[in-house]
């Protein structure tokens, strides 16, 4: 009989504790389900935080890599470059019978340069003058620039550059001036200001 009682007590369902009984009566969901829900909420919250941080990072990286191209700033730099080229070519060179720099460059870029001043060719005088002018303006203002003068007869006549300005620069403003040469050819002067250097 006692053996029968022992086996019966082993097979009987275990009695619930008071706390378990309380939970069952007052809270509908059992403990396992509540844990699962809170885990899901935590995952959801983490996903939202990760998305927000990723969004912020993307916006910040985009902002820093692509600074807005400011039209007004471009206008100011373009005006400076254009005015400087026009003013430079009109300037008279005292070392060469007060000929204008434009005249010297036109002679230098022609097929047969003919102007000589005190044993210097028009190209030498023009380059020397341009160097002086640039040193007193763009170099003095710490601006990064590249100046190229090319002619169809002599290819590149002059090349001046400051602070590593080249074609790889992302933000640059360009101004150019054309001077007439013989046989409907033109001498091209290009000034590039690199604004990101």
């Amino acid at each position: 009989m006692s053996l029968y009682n022992n086996i019966a007590s082993m097979l009987r369902k275990p009695r619930k504790t008071r706390a378990q009984e309380h939970n069952r009566r007052f809270y509908r969901k059992p403990d396992n389900e509540t844990n699962k829900k809170s885990q899901l909420e935590m995952i959801g919250l983490t996903v939202i935080v990760v998305i927000v941080i990723t969004g912020l990072l993307i916006v910040t990286v985009y902002k820093f890599n692509n600074p807005p191209r400011n039209i007004q700033k471009r206008y100011i730099n373009k005006e400076t470059a254009t005015n400087l080229l026009i003013a430079m070519t009109n300037t008279n060179v005292g070392e060469c019978n007060n000929l204008s720099l434009g005249n010297l460059l036109s002679d230098c870029g022609s097929s047969y340069p003919s102007i000589n001043c005190f044993d210097y060719t028009s190209c030498e005088i023009a380059n020397q003058t341009i160097n002086t002018l640039l040193n007193q303006t763009l170099v003095d203002w710490d601006l990064s620039f590249e100046l190229n003068i090319s002619s169809p007869f002599q290819d590149i006549i002059s090349h001046f550059a400051n602070l590593n300005c080249d074609s790889t620069s992302k933000q640059q403003e360009q101004a150019f001036e054309l001077l007439p040469l013989e046989a409907q050819n033109v001498l091209e002067i290009t000034l590039i200001l690199c604004l990101d250097r």
């Binding site: 007004q72 700033k73 003013a87 300037t91 008279n92 303006t137």
Partner: protein
Amino acid sequence: MRKRAQMQMTETIFVVFIILIIIMLGFVFYSKFQEISIKEKEKILRNIEVIKLAHRISSWPELECSIAGAERFACLDMVKLEVLGDFINRTMKTNSYGFNYYYDLLKNSKITITEVYPSSTKTLGTDYWLLYDNPGSTPLTDAVIIPVNLYNPVSKTYALGMMEVQIFK
């Protein structure tokens, strides 16, 4: 059941409160960035006004250099510069009509012209001219430098110069 509802209400209020704080912080940062950007844009717009002013000045009949009636781009006559600078400064001291006329056009600003080639000694009246000097308390713009040609009608030559314009409050 009532206790659980209270807990959930508290949780909701807490979450809404935190979200509000985050939104407010975001708004504060955004408005700060916007303020800086607007100030920068304002400064650049004023600098453009300065460039326009400089272009207007170079086409004034009192200053332009014209040969046989043809006006040259961005060019100032050295003799006219000297005469106009003297006139403005003289009338400024007496606060007479001449100064009032130019004050309407130039307001509170400072305009100087410096020759950089061939001469660059910065001697007043020779290769440096103070055209208008009526600065206010605070500079509103950067000193904008515009390259110009300076025409000497005596030797009939052109020099390279820089016109420096700055507007004040």
